[in-house]
């Protein structure tokens, strides 16, 4: 521990922390902008400067380490005046469109002005060159960019994609793909992590709201909504509820208030995915163990950001991917086939809206592979943030809504489906089912949670030796199944290098494109809570544990679907509706 003086108070702080952290630990907030705790220390905006006695210049408190005996002023005249000019400089190169900006009232730049008490902007001048690039998932409006470079750090270092970087120099600097190419023409995974960290309206999800309003207003359309598991663990944050509050019931009511005709749950197809993917895995395993031609490890395919990443970065390894579509497109395909048939509506008049924690899914639904008989599986994808905006603009008092249920037949799910929203969840759900199929016994873990793969670490692995196999699975007796789970594309890269080099020891790998899984998806609310990921994760496990049925194969709704329609896993209809193939893409 070190001792130092901040604003006249003697305080202590751990060794090796920056001044801003030392101040925070002593309940002193230093205004800042580009800094993002634990993720991004760059010192670009200089808003967090403080006066350290004995230093000629003001020091960026996010960069400079606190040292024993330092005497620091975070709020004296010198500091305040400098911050004010800095803020005015920021504004002088920023469009004054706050009232109509989608980030109004959730904008960190706007909030900073209030925090600093800036009431005038005296500085004017030319604006840096800017461009608007509307990609399927992400819209870039560089005029609103303040060059904090959080997005670059996330894209390059956390996601390992580096689709965007700083271009040009000085006042002409912009953040963009190489040579100003549109995002859609480069190796962007569309994960949207950049939109989560962007402090202003420079990087946002591409708007889907208007098309949904239009569909809702169109009486000839049957508008179906489905919602991903991670949304229910985070949507409440947009309405001021505690992080980790589950709002499943209120959300269903909100959908009803908004006027959707059918309110389904992507969880339904999450359960279905387990059946299809589990069967596919067992098939590959069987083939491999019996000398057949099977590609292992198999890798999950629910995360479209991950899919786009592997298509660009490892185009030769696409066979490792499960052929299963992601759950929401599966649901869309079923709505426009099974359900449409059931209610006697022309699939062309069905309009499927999926609410996702994800921006990549906006891109995914536009892929030509995600169509059945000329109909797109899903018409519009909304992010959690967009749904919140719709609810607000419809005048719905979300917090006071009563709980209600999803509708049938595509609204039921087991607990296994809920944990699809968190890293390790898909693997756990799959293991719960596969294990029971093979051994006839329940997965031997406390509360069915596969402890080694629970948590927010980048790469988690587990192995289980299969014993007591049922007839038909004797070839698996004594086999030690090795699985790996990763979230975030940098983790995926590490595992893929092994796969590419043929040294991967695993049979089955779960990959989610965003760090921590869908709970931290690119479409999720931007949280200021330091533990938001853990809290959201715990919420999903709570949802799972609260359910009676917690294994996908136990879902009566899924069983009914097979009986009535699909007949068998990996059958002809499954292949038509629920499976897909992938496209090799250029590295950049």
């Amino acid at each position: 521990m070190i001792e130092l003086t901040i604003n006249g108070k003697k305080v202590t702080a751990p060794d090796d922390v920056t001044i801003i952290e030392a101040a925070r630990l002593n309940d002193i907030n230093v205004p800042n902008l580009c800094y993002l705790k634990d993720k991004h220390k760059f010192g670009a905006c200089r808003i967090c400067v403080v006066d350290v006695e004995g230093q000629k210049n003001l020091q960026a408190s996010c960069m400079v380490k606190a040292k024993e005996g330092m005497v620091i002023h975070t709020n004296n005249k010198r500091v305040r005046e400098a911050r004010k000019v800095l803020y005015e400089l920021l504004l002088s190169n920023h469009p004054k469109e706050c009232l109509t900006c989608s980030r109004s009232q959730s904008c960190e730049l706007q909030e900073l002005g209030y925090t600093l008490g800036v009431t005038e902007s005296r500085i004017e001048g030319a604006q840096s060159p800017a461009e608007v690039d509307i990609a399927p998932s992400i819209t870039r409006d560089t005029s609103k960019c303040i060059l904090c470079r959080r997005c670059v750090t996330v894209c390059k270092e956390i996601q390992g994609v580096a689709a965007i970087d700083t271009q040009n120099r000085g006042f002409d600097s912009t953040i963009s793909p190489a040579m100003g190419l549109p995002l859609n023409e480069v190796n962007c995974a569309m994960c949207g992590q950049c939109t989560v960290v962007c402090p202003t309206g420079a990087l946002t999800e591409t708007d889907g709201i208007q098309r949904v309003w239009d569909a809702l207003a169109d009486s000839s359309k049957r508008v179906v909504v489905e919602v991903a598991p991670a949304v229910r663990a985070a949507l409440g944050e947009e309405f001021g509820l505690e992080v980790g509050t589950l709002v499943t019931g209120k959300m269903a009511s909100a959908f009803r208030e908004l006027g959707f005709d059918d309110i389904f749950d992507t969880n339904f197809t999450a359960d279905l995915t387990i059946i299809e993917e589990g069967s596919e895995f067992l098939q590959r395993l069987h083939s491999a163990l019996t000398g057949g031609d099977a590609v292992l490890p198999m890798m999950t395919s629910c995360s479209p950001g991950w899919i786009k990443y592997i298509e660009h970065s490892y185009p030769e390894e696409l066979d490792h991917l499960s052929t299963c579509k992601s759950p929401h497109t599966m649901l869309g395909a079923l709505v426009k086939s099974y359900y449409a048939e059931k209610i006697g509506v022309d699939p062309k008049d069905m309009f499927v809206v999926s609410v996702m924690p994800c921006t990549a899914k906006k891109y995914e639904v536009q892929r030509p592979e995600m169509m059945v008989d000329g109909n797109v599986d899903v018409d519009v994808v909304l992010t959690t943030r967009e749904l919140a905006r719709m609810i607000k603009s419809a005048g719905i008092d979300f917090k006071s809504l009563p709980d209600s249920e999803f509708e049938n037949p595509l609204g039921f799910s087991t607990g296994a489906a809920d944990i699809f929203g968190v890293t390790g969840g898909v693997m756990e759900a799959a293991l719960r089912t596969v294990w029971e199929l093979i051994t006839g016994k329940e997965l031997p873990f406390d509360k069915l949670h596969v402890a080694p793969i629970v948590g927010l670490e980048q790469i988690k692995t587990a192995e289980v030796t299969i014993e007591g196999t049922l007839p038909g699975y004797r070839h698996l007796e004594g086999v030690t199944a090795k699985v790996a789970v990763t979230s975030g594309l940098e983790g995926a890269r590490i595992l893929m290098e092994e796969v590419k080099n043929g040294t991967s020891p695993y049979h089955f790998i779960e990959v989610m494109g965003c760090p921590g899984g869908c709970i931290n998806g690119g479409g999720q609310p931007r949280s200021k809570d330091e533990d938001y990921r853990t809290k959201r994760m715990e919420a999903l496990y709570r949802e799972d544990e609260g359910k009676e049925l917690r294994k996908s194969h136990e879902s009566p709704a899924v069983q009914e679907l097979y009986q009535e329609y699909l007949k068998e896993p990996l059958g002809h209809l499954s292949h038509k509706l629920l499976h897909t193939h992938y496209t090799k893409r250029d590295k950049y």
Binding site: A162, D165, Q167, N168, A178, V186, K587, Y588
Partner: protein, 178 residues
């Protein structure tokens, strides 16, 4: 048909594909060598003449550096150009002496004749058009240079005659080639 003529630093072919292969070959020496992106870009520019996207792509793939990062470096340094440079460089002096003697009128007229803006290269890649702060020929104002040769007391009306000389040279060379 428009014939593009690239200046090549080595003796390999002149079409773009061959040049790209040449770039690939020449920068292989930097593969896996720590921090050699800028040196590789120098080499590539020497061969290809400038660094358009396709050259950057080759460098990115060979050196295993993300393309956006390569482009970030290319656009940071003024020595690297992403646009093809003209065969000849015209610099109009806009130092004070030339400015008051009508340097700006030369700029306007050239903009009209060449149909490009300052800093750009003509469509036929004949001329790159730039402005100089002061070339130290104040007594000869207004002045301009073409490839370093000073033209003094330039009258905007005479510009076309001056430029014509550079087109004639070209025709002469073509004549010999065919």
């Amino acid at each position: 048909m428009k014939v593009t003529q690239e200046k090549c630093g080595c003796c390999c072919g002149t079409n773009e594909m061959e040049l790209l292969l040449c770039v690939k070959e020449m920068i292989a020496q930097y593969k896996g060598k720590e921090g050699s992106l800028i040196q590789a870009l120098h080499t590539a520019q020497k061969i290809y003449g400038h660094l358009p996207l396709e050259v950057q792509r080759v460098v990115a793939e060979e050196l295993e550096v993300p393309l956006a990062t390569v482009s970030g470096v290319v656009t940071f340094y003024s020595f690297f150009s992403t646009q093809p440079q003209g065969e000849h460089t015209i610099r109009v002096c806009l130092g004070t002496a030339c400015y008051v003697r009508g340097g700006k009128r030369i700029v306007d007229k050239l903009r009209e004749i060449l149909n490009v803006n300052v800093g750009d290269t003509t469509e036929d890649r004949k001329f790159t058009f730039e402005i100089a702060r002061c070339i130290g020929a104040c007594g000869l104002a207004p002045a301009m240079t073409i490839d370093g040769e000073v033209y003094k007391q330039v009258n905007p009306d005479k510009l076309e005659t001056i430029l014509a000389r550079y087109y004639q040279e070209e025709q002469g060379v073509d004549g010999n080639d065919n």
